[in-house]
Symmetry: C2
Amino acid sequence: MHSLEELGKKFAAHFSTDHFPAEPASLYDPNRYFLSLGGKRIRPLLVLMGNELFDDIKPDAWQVANAVELFHNFSLIHDDIMDAASLRRGMPTVHHKYGSNTAILAGDVMLVKAYEYLNMVSKDVSRPLIALFNRTAAEVCEGQQLDMDFETQPEVGLDAYLNMIRLKTSVLLAAALQMGAIIGGAGKGNQQHLYAFGENLGIAFQVQDDYLDAFGDPAKFGKEPGGDIRQNKKTFLAIHTWEVADETQRRLLTELAASQSADKVPQVLAIMKACGVDEWAVALKQQYFDRAMQHLDEVAVVSGRKEVLTELAHFLVQRDY
Amino acid sequence: MHSLEELGKKFAAHFSTDHFPAEPASLYDPNRYFLSLGGKRIRPLLVLMGNELFDDIKPDAWQVANAVELFHNFSLIHDDIMDAASLRRGMPTVHHKYGSNTAILAGDVMLVKAYEYLNMVSKDVSRPLIALFNRTAAEVCEGQQLDMDFETQPEVGLDAYLNMIRLKTSVLLAAALQMGAIIGGAGKGNQQHLYAFGENLGIAFQVQDDYLDAFGDPAKFGKEPGGDIRQNKKTFLAIHTWEVADETQRRLLTELAASQSADKVPQVLAIMKACGVDEWAVALKQQYFDRAMQHLDEVAVVSGRKEVLTELAHFLVQRDY
């Protein structure tokens, strides 16, 4: 068994190869650039940890870890175009630096490269493994589409939002764990519990993300809070606030959504607090975190093997920065 | 053995299924719409014909035929965004009808669906087959990128243009045939000749396409010729004209490129004819067509089995409409 830190170092070393040919540089340099921006590389670690929960890390796990990380980067490149985001990890996004057309193609060829790694997986596991990868890839696209759809919908229910987050964020974490488990030789039941662990952890993570954007301590959080509120973004908090607000509060929220005034953020925060949305969010996060840990608990391996995943779960979700 | 017409009908029936889930309709309806626009479905036919050249059509061929056609449609959806094309087959393109963001995602999920079909292929052929598919998919992206790069390059050599066309157009035809051959149990040598047949045929087809756009009979061609000239598009003809033109002709070509006057097309055509570019193009097309047929000739099966491919080659390249 490896520690979180060891796995992180091992994967970083493994991944720091040139995944693309030299030419045409106009297509592949953008991908090299984007990968050089780094990232937490959580998803490939989940593959390795899913494998190591059941058995020593097998060569297949490294191929799948690469594929999952490349898929994640493909989706970020395309999402940044759609969201018209100019910065990612403090640096220009691919479409901002190289133009949207190149960013579309660079993403496409990054996805193809992910499938090249998947095609190297042993035949005894390849079919269920790639089927899970494909289903997940489609779901991530569905989640992004729903997210865009919600932008123009006046009201989005909490269940619909939860489902969008599940597709956009959680299923890839869940699938990374399950793919690792498949490689590690886990049975169906263990695979499903591990998937459910990832799924619930992803939602807990997103609730926390939304919470921190509103109520995070700027000193620890590293950025000015309230960005989501300023942009009228639909978040767990915004949706729940609307659901529990009274008529007067709803009228004020509607006015504030149309306003750009300096006290927009504190005013919305005040309504959220008056509605108890901050405590609600903390409880919701805890609920999904607990559900995740229950599923991890159900995985039939000795608890010592689960320590790294428990550590990662706390690292991802209990952060207050 | 099936005739071209029989194979066309069989594939049309096989392909006319709903490849996508109902929901989210905002993501999948655009793909259903685009596939409903039809198309010649040449590439899947090449898979079936590549298979049937060596053996009865196997179930794998139908999966790969679907994958190849979906890949082709994915690339058209994304290319139309990059080319800012508003019409495809006389109907609005996906990005024109549903917006660029949805078109990016719809293309992405179409590509994922292609891989779903590939994941159903028998294990005994899946690895070389998917490796060829992946290499080809990356090459098609490279070709599109080079095509975009050329737009802003003042001079493009004939070899560079030829390589771009090979990547953007030919390799998918070639790979479709070879994938069929792999499924049909062909040996390496036969696979390579069939690939080279498709590669050269694709180039002959593109030379003809460029030729018809300049010199085609409007009555047979179905559209006003000279579109490429009006848009200053780099084509086989434009590149060769520039290479053989004298100083005076080059000056005039440069002036005409900047002009929008009504006699731009006839004037460029006059220079092309004065340089003998029309005859050059006919000879170039014939050269690639002959080379294609030589490779088909080298495939070691009785010539009767090759009749359908010969028919298709003539259908694709000897058309004067």
